[in-house]
Amino acid sequence: MNAIGAASSGGATAASDSSTTTKKNSKKPKYSRFTQQELPACKPILTPGLVITTFIVIGIIFIPVGLVSLFASEKVVEIVDRYDDGCVPRNYSNNKLAYIRSKLTDKSCTRTLNIVKPMKSPIYIYYQLDNFYQNHRRYVKSRSDKQLRSKKGESETKLCDPEGVSANGPIVPCGLIAWSLFNDTYKFKVKNKVLEVNKKNIAWKSDKSKKFGSDVYPKNFQSGGLIGGGQLNSSIPLSEQENLIVWMRTAALPTFRKLYGKIEEDLQANQQITVVIQNNYNTYSFGGKKKLVLSTTTWIGGKNDFLGIAYVTVGGLCLFFAISFILLYVVKPRPLGDPSYLSWNRNPAGHLN
């Protein structure tokens, strides 16, 4: 016990000595709290109170947020219709590839959708592709932003191979992404009345104004030997070709939805919608699915229960932690910082002399 006093007072005298001699000696470093590693610091420790409160607070915040998210997601009305199989005629059902590749076959196909719940406008029309790797390395890099941006960059096709240059010069827009443009089309009818599909403003404004030039027109597109996906009207500048702009925003996952258009009309429950699909796009070679999605939207976006469920789960987990720690604390209280737990204060002989 002496020792502690001696040690601390020793330190104190040393400190005071040093402060008095500081002026005398120029060699000495200037005293500052930083150089002496004595910056005032807050030193929190994981007390039961702090930790349990944190868990309870997180739990209390997360569960309602999760419920709100779930509620928002539930409010979204979503109709999904997979049509890739259904749109192949019976006689081609064993050879879907031949059907889709043939130029002679009739690609149109009529589907009927039931509206289960009323849908408020705007109703978003998406096409969903499954097992389509827009994020494949060969694919995702195969584009030329410079070329898309302005006419000056027309010949910048270095990254676009093998769809960079055609016999007649550089392809605009070049690259595999543009080349594989999705080209199924949908026409909607309700009770024989045509539903207008608005295909304007489906792309990001910033893409239209900055990434896709208004002076860039398609050139030599889909003119080579291999025809990939859709054609482009070469008299419309790229900035107006919104389906292309949407397609060129590559998806990060092999299952993705892209906006096709919007229906700006409310749909009533139990209405039947007839959709005439031009089934042009080949997903049969790799077993990809094609789906047509009609969906409304809320503040959280489309229908996605994940966030809600995850929030409730994490919140529940936190509460669980909190409760178990409280129980542990009650059942097995353990004073913090009990010196008797220091092994060097424990004497194997059982007594401290």
């Binding site: 000495k28 610091a41 420790i45 039961p48 994020n135 595999l176 990434k211 996952l253 966030l307 910082g337």
Partner: protein, 1105 residues
């Protein structure tokens, strides 16, 4: 092998046989800087690896990201180290230039000319004036002093601040000032070497200075480069070594860089990660190729060609190699260098480690090894000047059997002695005469008439001063004539020869001629075992042996004084042999020793002096604390066994009986040493489990035998014993012992203050020098220099421990964050067709590694897990550092698991939250990146123990900076992420996702940490809790009440237990040998094991509370 220097021969110097005096310390020239520096940097594995990665990235087919993301940091890192090197080299160039262009006077064609120092040739005669710096190694030819003496200060060479005398060779004695310009001759000297204590050469002058005699030259006749001429009006000498071939130039060299245990561990972990990376790359590469062949060929939109180039199979593995290259963080080297230099700065800045007497702050010369300080296991310490003050005070003496100073403790006040002096008792007079003149002290008379002494040895200084106090004043030295005043009488002696002190001979003698009666006397002083055997056959030395014993018991340093009258012809005969021996070129030292021995016999022993060397302040407490911290102490001293044991007792080095036990290893022959070693070993083994403080004592002779013939047994002994005292050891033995402990994988720290400790200091993992009274030699060679021994406590417990903790966190965290982002990339590759797509863009990747994640962690240099005071009170906590418990494969596995867990959390949550219509590449990548940044901020926050303002600024400021930077990038239309960040920040679902990632990632970590912290706390945690709660930690103190022990205090009886007198209890050996225990620390075995093993040693130290 030899060099012939023709003095003042312009012909010979024009032939340019030897290099000119241009000093060059530069590593590079302007032309070779770039290639040489790059070559040096690329000789490191890490750099080679990064270069390979960077080169691979230039191949656009395989690179997942812009090559700039690796080239940028790589070039930055290279530029930083190259700039540092260039700056250092430029400074060296400037100082060289200054030295080279210094104007000096040199004789050319018989005329004194003023030329630049770099134009000095070997053989030129160089003239120096008072306070001039010596431009190259010179052999003195003449000085202003009629006796041919001059004084030089050698502090730049060996750090010793006292003046040394140098004398011109006898052949040049008496040459006229004018004639010195024309002097011709030949100096025959060895080729340049770096031994600054030896110069075995010969000089022969040519006509007209006809002197056919070969005149021997020693280091005494030289003045070496970088010394200063003092107290001498002028001196001149012939240049023998110039430029980089001088003694100083030869001894310059870049010491081997020391690698810390932490660095070694980081290298090991890096290697492990590298292997892991290769495995991942192989697995993914194969999977990628398989997927490509089975799936990707069907994906028509990818347009895989049917037949690729020959390297097709390699493309995907190489892509993954590049993708995974971030697993090894490129920033770790820079971060570590940065924080290490800051640790060193903290040591330099520390106000509490300033020597208040001299005002010298502590200094870290080696900025790279601070972590090692926290991992020290063995401290090898010198005694004199390190534990003691090296301020010698004459305390007692025994003159012809009569003890003086025993009662009062101070012989200078002993009335009996004063009476004996007053009555001019012959023995006492002789005794005092030897004290006064048998030395190499130079008296300096100041203007006021007071005499001060310049001595190289503190003992001599004490003796001369004591003699002066006893009225035998050494008043003047004029050439070879000494003047002594005794009671107003002036007695003159002429010094005929000085038989110098060497550590082998352990004695020194002078041969003087009494100028009054012409008698020739041999006066000797030295260690008892060097003097007493030379006593004349008739003399009883029993009393002296007793006296030595008695004084040593009190911890005093003893010297025996003896004398003998020489016959004229005996001296003459011997003098001839001595001269011959002094002029040999090979084995001169040995030959001289042999010749000296022929004179030093039949001595009449006059008495014994006892000199006190007080312990430094705080030494016992420091040793006590550090021993509690689990550090083992070895004392290596050149002093006598008894003195060493007494000092050891008084500074808590060993405990007195019955708690402590000393085991002696002795013996003169191989067999004896072997037997005694085995006995000690048996006792050691049997007492290892007992709470006993067992130490072994060995002397230099036995050590030599033990090291040569029983290396293994001695090694085992070394691992078993926590304390050892090695007395009478030579500098090379000290170094050998360090080597021995290092070979057992211990971290060693050597601390010393004198030139004899330099080898040990350089050999040890950490060398600490005390900038003390024996000069700065040790401090210069050391990695750290401190003013007092007690600062060692703070150096190790505060600086070493913090440095280790901080580096452990920083390095593992660097791997964690790199692995985190790398795992996400790997997971992403599974949903991108195993094709090696990078989820993150190049800018984000680069900024993530060098900016977002590096800044917050850098402030961990301010983190303090425990207060300094707490650590000082519980030094045991240092075990965590010593055993490497904060950085080892198992803690690393924890971080690895954490990064895997976090990667899963970030990946799963972001791909599910951003699915379907939101699954846009750029958006998803930014969501995942934000998740990583948020997580890492919270990880740093959770792992930080103390938050200063700077930490808050770095952690939370960095988070804000992340958004600002990304907003800036999002505002650039040309960047890939144009508008992305604005878009995301407006989405509620973005924020919801980010908070979900944080809660899901940190929740379990917090819960686990809390559980461990509360229910399975480490000792550090307990102390933290106790400290922060202000609990009764003070009551834990198990430090013994400090007793102001001094040497004067009665030392409790301690018997050196001779093993043969003991009946050791032969208990069965512990199943775990201590060796395996020690090893197990590093590899991180469970703590319990470590605890139970160590418990005994704790309790041993803490028991007597």
């Amino acid at each position: 092998m030899k060099r012939y220097v023709y003095i003042n021969d312009d012909e010979a110097s024009r032939q340019q046989l030897y290099c000119v005096n241009r000093i060059s310390n530069r590593k590079y020239t302007v032309l070779n800087f770039l290639p040489k520096n790059l070559w040096e940097q690329f000789s490191r594995f890490m750099n080679q690896y990064f270069l390979l990665i960077a080169c691979l990235q230039l191949w656009s087919l395989i690179t997942p990201v812009n090559p700039a993301s690796t080239w940028g940091p790589l070039i930055f890192i290279f530029a930083v180290s190259a700039t540092k090197e260039a700056w250092d080299d430029y400074n060296r160039y400037l100082s060289d230039k200054k030295a080279n262009e210094k104007e000096v006077w040199v004789v050319r064609q018989g005329i004194k000319k003023h030329i630049q120092a770099q134009d000095i040739h070997v053989g030129n005669i160089v003239w120096l004036r008072e306070n001039d710096e010596v431009p190259c190694d010179l052999v003195l030819m003449g000085t202003s002093d009629p006796q041919g003496l001059c004084y030089i200060e050698t502090s730049a060479l060996d750090g010793e601040t006292d003046l040394k005398t140098r004398v011109i060779p006898s052949a040049c004695m008496g040459i006229d000032f004018e004639l010195l310009h024309k002097i011709k001759g030949l100096v025959e000297c060895p080729n340049p070497d770096k031994d600054i204590r030896r110069f075995d050469a010969n000089l022969r002058l040519f006509p007209p200075f006809l002197d056919n005699d070969v005149c021997p030259l020693t280091i005494k006749n030289t003045i070496l480069q970088s010394c200063y001429l003092r107290n001498t009006e002028w001196a001149c000498g012939v240049a023998v070594y110039t430029g980089n071939e001088t003694k100083l130039g030869m001894s310059r060299g870049i010491p081997e860089p020391k690698l810390t245990a932490v660095d070694a561990m980081i290298d090991k972990l890096t290697g492990a990660i590298f292997v892991f990376q290769i495995v991942v790359v192989m697995v993914l590469g194969i999977a990628g190729n398989v997927w490509k062949d089975t799936e990707a060929r069907k994906q028509w939109y990818v347009q895989y060609p049917d037949k690729g180039p020959w390297y097709e199979l390699l493309v995907i593995p190489l892509r993954f190699e590049l993708l995974c290259s971030i697993m090894i963080p490129i920033s770790i080297k820079v971060s570590l260098d940065l924080v290490k230099s800051l640790y060193a700065k903290f040591i330099d800045w520390d106000n509490e480690m300033i020597d208040l007497e001299t005002g010298i702050p502590s200094h870290a010369t080696n900025t790279a090894i601070s972590e090692d300080l926290g991992q020290v296991e063995y401290i090898l310490t010198d005694k004199t000047g390190t534990l003691t003050e090296n301020r010698m005070i004459f305390r007692r003496c025994c003159i012809s059997g009569i003890f003086y100073g025993n009662e009062s403790g101070d012989a200078l006040k002993d009335v009996e002695l004063l009476n004996a002096i007053a009555s001019s008792s012959t023995h006492v007079i002789h005794f005092l005469t030897i004290m006064a003149i048998c030395n190499t002290v130079v008296p300096i008379k100041s203007k006021s008439g007071a005499i001060s002494y310049k001595a190289q040895s503190q003992d001599e200084d004490a003796l001369v001063n004591a003699a002066a106090r006893l009225h035998m004043v050494y008043a003047n030295k004029n050439g070879n004539i000494l003047e002594i005043r005794f009671h107003g009488l002036i007695i003159q002696y002429e010094i005929l020869e000085t038989l110098e002190f060497t550590s082998d001979r352990k004695r020194m003698s002078v041969v003087v001629k009494d100028c009054q009666n012409g008698k020739i006397l041999l006066l000797s002083k030295g260690a008892d075992e060097a003097i007493l055997p030379c006593a004349s056959a008739g003399q009883q030395t029993r009393t002296f042996v007793d006296a030595v014993e008695q004084y040593a018991q009190l911890g005093l340093r003893t010297l025996c004084l003896a004398w003998r009258e020489l016959k004229e012809n005996e001296y003459r005969e011997w003098s001839f042999m001595f001269k011959e021996a002094s002029s040999t070129l090979v084995d001169r030292e040995w030959r001289i020793a042999e010749v000296c021995q022929r004179l030093e016999h039949n001595l009449e022993v006059l008495g014994v002096t006892a000199i006190e060397d007080r312990l430094q302040d705080g030494v016992p407490e420091t040793i006590e604390t550090l021993r509690k911290a689990g550090i083992n102490f070895w004392m290596l001293t050149g002093d006598k066994q008894n003195t060493a044991i007494q000092i050891a007792l008084s500074c808590n080095f060993i405990s007195p009986e019955p708690k402590g036990q000393l085991l002696l290893i002795d013996g003169k022959t191989e067999d004896e040493v072997c037997r005694s070693l085995e006995r000690v070993l048996l006792t050691m083994r049997s007492t290892f489990s007992q709470p006993k403080d067992v130490a072994f004592v060995v002397d230099g002779w036995a050590l030599e035998i033990a090291l040569r013939h029983h290396w293994e047994a001695f090694t085992e002994l070394a691992t078993l014993s926590r304390t050892a005292i090695c007395c009478r050891v030579t500098p090379s033995q000290k170094a050998q012992l360090v080597e021995l402990l290092k070979s057992c994988d211990y971290r060693t720290l050597a601390i010393g203050d004198g030139g004899n400790d330099v080898r040990m200091i350089q050999q040890a993992d950490i060398g600490v020098g005390i900038s003390g009274r024996e000069g700065l030699q040790a401090a210069r060679a050391a990695d750290y220099s401190i003013g007092k021994f007690r600062f060692l406590k703070r150096l190790i417990l505060v600086h070493g421990r913090y440095s280790y903790n901080r580096t452990a966190f920083l390095s593992q965290y660097s791997f964690y964050k790199s692995l985190l982002i790398c795992f996400i990339q790997i997971f992403f590759s599974f949903i991108s067709g195993v094709s090696g797509t990078s989820l993150f863009n190049s800018v984000s990747l680069m900024a993530y590694n060098v900016f977002y994640t590096s800044i917050p962690v850098l402030v961990s240099v301010l983190d303090k897990d425990l207060n300094e005071e707490t650590v000082m009170q519980h030094p045991q906590i240092l075990f965590y550092c010593q055993a490497g418990r904060l950085l080892n494969p198992s803690t690393f596995a924890g971080w690895f698991g954490r990064s895997l867990f976090h990667a899963i959390v970030v990946f799963v949550i972001s791909i599910n939250a951003y699915a379907y219509e939101k699954s846009e590449m750029e958006e998803l990548s930014m969501v995942a990146l934000s998740g990583c940044i948020w997580l890492q901020a919270f990880v740093v926050a959770l792992e930080t123990n103390s938050f200063t303002k700077l930490q808050h600024l770095a952690i939370w400021g960095n988070l804000i900076a992340f958004y600002i930077i990304n907003w800036m990038f999002s505002a650039l239309p040309s960047s890939g992420m144009y508008t992305i960040m604005f878009r995301l920040c407006r989405q509620p679902s973005y924020w919801i996702t980010v908070f979900l990632i944080v809660a899901a990632g940190m929740g379990p970590i917090l819960a686990l940490k809390y559980f461990r912290y509360t229910y399975r706390p480490s000792k550090i945690n307990i102390l933290q809790q106790a400290e922060r709660r202000g609990g009764p930690i003070l009551s834990l103190g198990s430090i013994e009440p400090l007793q102001a022990r001094t040497i004067e205090e009665d030392v409790s009886p301690l018997s050196i237990t001779q093993p043969k007198n003991r009946n050791p209890v032969y208990e069965p050996l512990l199943s775990d040998s201590p060796n395996s225990t020690r090893r197990s620390f590093g590899s991180g075995t469970p703590f319990d094991f470590f605890q139970s093993q160590r418990l005994s040693s704790y309790s041993r130290n803490c028991k007597d509370n």
